[in-house]
């Protein structure tokens, strides 16, 4: 581990932008979103006030550069884009020709990735690369990407990463890990690519005082975390609660809008559409050409559970239950990892203010 003066962060940025699209935090419409940024775009000094169903950005007193917590976006928007072309096709009387898209582009460097999102990224890798068939576009984007992780100085108001065992300190899964201190950043390389970036920086040795500051900051962050989930009886609690009356109560409030799933860094569901323009149809030659497009979808969309003959999840109650059960139970069996990393996004960005931590707790109530 080494130390970098805060004002030298821009040198790290400079090295990155030559070879990568640097994706990091930036303010848009009063919200910290992720976009391609330059170092001065980082909203240093801003603080976010989050509640269930509410988000406000204010200029605060905090001295840190990364003074804010995660907004609605995550790496997911870039590694698994919301709308992407899978392939172009052209079918004729005798054959179907398929053309793969070029998803190569300039490699991505994610800066300021929180510990919760690194846990989510591990799940994503299992989903898109862990099976017999790999997602080729995801693979090529992921392979070339750099993860520059960051220990949280402050938790968001809806965070509960500690309960889920994912944060607030970054443990692994990074190319470079940053820890922000008063006057400097601690840096650690996790891969050879990360080490190469550090080699060109003028770094200082870490002192015992720095390490003390680091642990007291982690303590402070933990102390400020307001939310939690008791995990000792998961996933069993969910399996025992499939007919709990609480699901009905949630269904009264739930808007079935899908916002929670779109902001969740572990939600990966999507649908495919074959998009054919009128110009792509030639009945005389019996030719059809178009594209297969993938779009983020959600278990909250009615069509998502429609199969031949009907819909196997016809009620809001069933849809919310499916969502929470997938997060807190089924993913353990599916991927051996929790499907919720405690980032709190679904709580903040739910218009109805439905709070997963409170709803799990309510399932524990005796009926």
């Amino acid at each position: 581990m080494k130390k970098l003066k805060k004002e030298h962060l821009r040198i790290l940025f400079g090295g990155l932008t030559e070879s990568h699209r640097v994706i990091g935090p930036k303010i848009e419409g009063g919200v910290v979103v992720l976009a391609e940024i330059a170092v001065h775009d980082i909203p240093a000094g801003f603080e976010d006030r989050q509640m269930a169903g509410s988000y406000r950005l204010v200029t605060g007193e905090r001295p840190e550069i990364f003074s804010f917590s995660a907004g609605p976006d995550s790496f997911k928007r870039f590694l698994h884009p919301p709308v992407s072309e899978m392939f172009a096709f052209k079918s004729s009387r005798t054959a179907i020709a398929i053309t793969a898209p070029d998803c190569q582009g300039k490699p991505l460097a994610f800066i300021g990735v929180r510990a919760c999102d690194i846990a989510a990224l591990k799940l994503y890798d299992k989903v898109f690369l862990g099976g017999a068939e790999k997602d080729q576009c995801y693979e090529s984007r992921r392979k070339d990407s750099l993860v520059i992780a960051l220990d949280c100085s402050y938790p968001g108001d809806n965070c509960f990463c500690h309960a889920m065992g994912t944060g607030p300190s970054v443990m692994d899964g990074f190319d470079i890990a940053l820890v922000e201190l008063d006057a400097s950043f601690l840096l650690e390389a996790g891969t050879i690519a990360g080490q190469r970036l550090l080699d060109v920086l003028s770094l200082e040795e870490v002192t015992e005082g720095d390490m003390k500051e680091r642990s007291s900051r982690t303590e402070r962050c933990l102390g400020m975390m307001k939310k939690s989930i008791r995990t000792e009886d998961l996933p069993g609690l969910i399996y025992r609660s499939l007919d709990h009356p609480r699901w009905m109560d949630i269904a009264e409030r739930d808007l079935e809008c899908g916002n929670c799933t779109q902001v969740c860094p572990t939600c990966f569901c999507h649908s495919h559409y074959d998009f054919v323009r009128l110009a792509g149809i030639s009945p005389r030659a019996r030719e059809v050409s178009g594209t297969r497009v993938r779009k983020w979808d959600s278990c909250f969309s009615r069509n998502f559970a429609r199969v031949h003959g009907g819909n196997f999840r016809p009620s809001r109650r069933a849809r919310y239950r499916q969502w929470m059960s997938h997060k807190l139970a089924y993913t353990f069996e599916q991927f051996g990892l929790p499907g919720c990393v405690g980032c709190g996004r679904c709580i903040t960005w739910c218009p109805a203010g439905i709070d997963i931590t409170r709803e799990v707790e309510a399932l524990r109530d005796v009926r």
């Binding site: 419409g29 079935e256 809008c257 009615r302 109650r317 218009p351």
Partner: protein, 255 residues
């Protein structure tokens, strides 16, 4: 192969949705090449004869004569598709459904006695079976072209039933409801418009009508918590899809 015969019909409406068809521009030549336009008053004088493979129906039913006309269109048509808010939910003119029609007649016309109209403006589906409904005020040209293409390919059109929020989040638009407490109808409104309003920092006002299973009362509770009165909330819903939003509020179904 014979080109499928298509008819475009207008009931009570502003013609805007028929114009969306003419607005296909790049695809217009393909459209007339692929379909035989058997009836379309905006484009040709050709009188209506014979059967139709597809009827695109714009506008709501608001006179006695329209009531029998829509039945006649249905009888000669294989697939009937409604286009736009008026045909699909009764339109802005359905605001009269919640008032006394004579009051309106007297307020608007110098000789109210000569006005022949029904007391309510109703969607096409109140009168005949509708195969597909395209929402929007006006409809999206993309959805129109997708639906016409689907007919030729013999597949179900991919008309979204999910919320506008889904489309909004895909576009990465900072949420107006969460970050500004704006009364955005996105969570209960059908996707399809391409997120026109939130992209311009305006809350959604519901041109595409209620999404499938819209939980309107829960959203209005949220608006009331941020200071809107019952009256303000009702006004939000009483626009070009007033009938559909009101119906969705009272519809019984599994929550």
């Amino acid at each position: 192969m014979k080109r499928p015969r298509i008819g475009v019909f207008k009931f009570t409406s502003c013609d805007g949705c028929q114009l969306s068809l003419l607005n296909l521009e790049d695809e217009l030549l393909d459209f007339v090449g692929l379909f035989q336009v058997a009836y379309f008053r905006e484009a040709t004088d050709r009188p209506l004869r014979g059967h139709l493979d597809i009827a695109l129906v714009e506008g709501s039913v608001s006179t006695e004569r329209q009531r029998s006309h829509v039945v006649a269109v249905r009888e000669r048509t294989r697939y009937l598709v409604t286009v736009g808010a008026c045909a699909t939910s009764g339109g802005l003119q359905a605001l009269r459904n919640w008032a006394d029609i004579d009051d309106y007649k007297n307020a608007v016309y110098p000789s109210p006695a000569i006005i022949e109209t029904l007391p309510c403006s109703t969607p096409i589906s109140d009168h005949v079976y509708v195969d597909y409904e395209l929402w929007g005020c006006p409809v999206s040209s993309d959805e129109l072209s997708e639906t016409l293409g689907s007919f030729l390919l013999d597949k179900r059109p991919g008309i979204p039933g999910y919320s506008l929020c889904m489309e909004c989040k895909r576009k990465g638009i900072p949420c107006l409801l969460i970050a500004r407490s704006a009364p955005c109808l996105g969570p209960v409104t059908r996707a399809g418009c391409g997120v026109l309003c939130p992209s311009l920092e305006r809350p959604c006002y519901g041109c595409f009508g209620p999404k499938e299973g819209a939980n309107i009362d829960s959203l209005l509770n949220v608006f009331r918590k941020s200071g809107l009165s019952h009256h303000d909330c009702a006004l939000l819903l009483d626009k070009m899809n007033t009938s559909a939003y009101r119906k969705a509020r009272t519809r019984e179904g599994p929550p």
